[in-house]
């Protein structure tokens, strides 16, 4: 699937020269927290990340936010800057669905590399579980499908993923156990994280016999909905030193995007999805000068179990169609071939896009992931997917500067 991707050399030079790092992280309590608003979570997560970095709030000169599913704003980043009391030189709201968190890091890096800011706060927070109205939920479901040519047929968001899942089962002779195994691994990992929503053990049988939402996906094939916030601070190694940041730094080695479609009606075949995932991953891998085998811990977007298999395969960790057996054999567990989502992911920990994926990747590279620590983790990959496996983004992070 390797394709020739333009401007890899230039991207590598920019990241080598600037030594862009994640220097601070923060996560609030996750779960059902009805007494906090979306902007409250954003503020708390920002405060935690600033405190984690040990810097002053006034050191922050760039702000990247996303969007809220509860409090709709036309200009999310500046609305939050106003609420939190920031006057950034650089501000941007990223809105590419589940590809957002990963691309927030990339956008911060690009802003820094082009001289727009030095210390960029990237933050998301939302009271999705407690705050979303039923009409808001319908609007969200509708957002994923074409209002004129798809939604009138009663397509839901899980249903969209189920369409991809059904075709996957058909093309590769995969089974529902393969999907279920992903949910089981995520649950095992969430059990090791204090700040996780669902920690009780889960078996393959339980996943398969749970309520069918959209065949072939059951309740446990679908991610959870939660309230909470998370943030990370992107800067350069030099600025981190100047500010006296003591945290071990996670260095940005590569980043990339890939696009397949917005509406499933525009999907030709599963290869179109694989190519989008691969384009995203290859840009990041080639910039980093590494391949899938060099990754010690991976964070894959797990809004539904099927996406993890598509991403494992599309990114080249395993050949096409072999993600299922890989999951079923437990090879995504901590201590095995490729630990995936050591924090429990969207399926079990919390759902804030890939924010927690980025935060946990940073913790792993710091060697500070406690009972979830992957031994000698030096390289981490984070992949986000927005829409219905439509829009992709990847970053590669390293424990050492890119050399």
């Amino acid at each position: 699937m390797a394709t020739s991707i333009p401007r890899v050399k230039e991207a590598r030079e920019v990241l080598k020269k600037n030594k862009i790092v994640i220097a601070g992280i923060g996560e609030t309590e996750q779960g059902k927290i009805p007494d906090k608003s979306s902007f409250h979570f954003l503020s708390l997560a920002s405060k935690l990340a600033i405190e984690d970095a040990g810097i002053k709030k006034s050191d922050v000169d760039g702000l990247v936010t996303a969007f809220s599913l509860v409090e709709h704003t036309f200009m999310h980043c500046t609305t939050f800057a106003d609420y939190f009391g920031l006057r950034p030189r650089f501000f941007s709201s990223v809105a590419v669905g589940g590809a957002t968190a990963v691309w927030m890091a990339a956008e911060a890096a690009m802003a820094i590399a082009s001289g727009q800011a030095e210390v960029v706060l990237c933050v998301r927070g939302d009271n999705t579980l407690s705050g979303i109205s039923s009409s808001g939920m319908v609007a969200l479901i509708r957002e994923m499908c074409h209002a004129e040519f798809e939604f009138p047929y009663g397509l839901t968001t899980p249903g969209g993923y189920a369409l991809a899942a059904q075709r996957y089962l058909h093309d590769f002779g995969a089974t529902r156990e393969h999907f279920a195994a992903v949910a089981v691994t995520m649950r095992k990992h969430a059990a090791l994280k204090e700040n996780a929503m669902n920690k009780e053990p889960l078996t393959i049988e339980e996943v398969m016999s749970s309520r069918v939402i959209a065949d072939p996906l059951t309740k446990y094939d679908c991610s959870i909905i939660s309230d909470g916030g998370a943030a990370f601070i992107v800067t350069t190694e030099a600025k981190a030193k100047e500010l006296g940041i003591k945290n071990p730094l996670a260095y940005l080695w590569g980043m990339g995007q890939g696009y397949s479609h917005q509406y499933l009606t525009s999907l030709r075949d599963l290869d179109q999805i694989y190519n989008a995932i691969n384009n995203s991953g290859q840009k990041a891998f080639q910039t980093a000068g590494i391949g899938p085998k060099d990754v010690d811990v991976a964070f894959l977007y797990d809004c539904f179990t099927i996406t993890v298999l598509l991403e494992l395969e599309g990114l080249g960790f395993v050949p096409k169609g072999e993600g299922g057996p890989f999951a079923l054999e437990g090879r995504m567990e901590i201590g095995k071939d490729l630990p995936v989502n050591t924090h429990g992911g969207l399926l079990s920990q919390a759902h804030l896009g890939a924010m927690h994926h980025v935060v946990e990747a940073t913790l792993q590279l710091r060697g500070a992931a406690g009972p979830r620590q992957v031994k000698d983790a030096k390289v981490a990959l984070v992949h986000g997917n927005g829409g219905i496996v439509s829009a992709h983004s990847t970053i590669v992070l390293g424990k050492e500067p890119l050399s």
Partner: protein
């Protein structure tokens, strides 16, 4: 969105450029847009061909009405309360003989009998006085 007291499910949001499509549906005719510049069919209908031609010169070609199920999902939960009594229902992505994909429902058959690759043909569901949705049923 048209007002209708008995049909409470989501109706298509019409756009000016898709009028020929929905007008044809009302006549129980399936038409698929084709760029006159390239001769290529595309779906969903747009004002401008999504090909490199970027042409606004679009013709509406009467489709064969024949398709194959490319993928499907039996929905056990609908997107709005109006679907309360519908599940299980089948949402499918079908590939028409013209080579485009369409989102639709597979009707007039037990959801459990739907298979990928199954031959289906168009039927028209007059859901309101203003709106007719093309759906598909197993081919004879």
């Amino acid at each position: 969105m048209a007002e209708n007291k008995t049909y409470e499910k989501p109706l298509p949001d019409f756009r000016p450029e898709t009028k020929p499509y929905w007008d044809a549906c009302k006549r129980h005719e399936l038409v698929i847009p084709r760029s006159k510049a390239t001769g290529e069919f595309f779906f969903y209908p747009r004002a401008i061909s999504p090909g490199n031609d970027m042409s606004e010169d679009i013709e509406w070609v009467k489709a064969s009405g024949k398709a194959k199920v490319w993928t499907y999902s039996i929905h056990y939960m609908g997107p709005t309360k109006a679907y309360k009594n519908d599940p299980p229902y089948v949402v499918a992505l079908v590939e028409t003989s013209e080579g485009v994909k369409m989102m639709t429902n597979i009707v007039d058959c037990d959801p459990k009998d739907v298979r990928i690759g199954m031959d289906v043909e168009v039927v028209f569901d007059d859901v309101t006085d203003e709106v007719t949705l093309p759906k598909f049923k197993p081919a004879k």
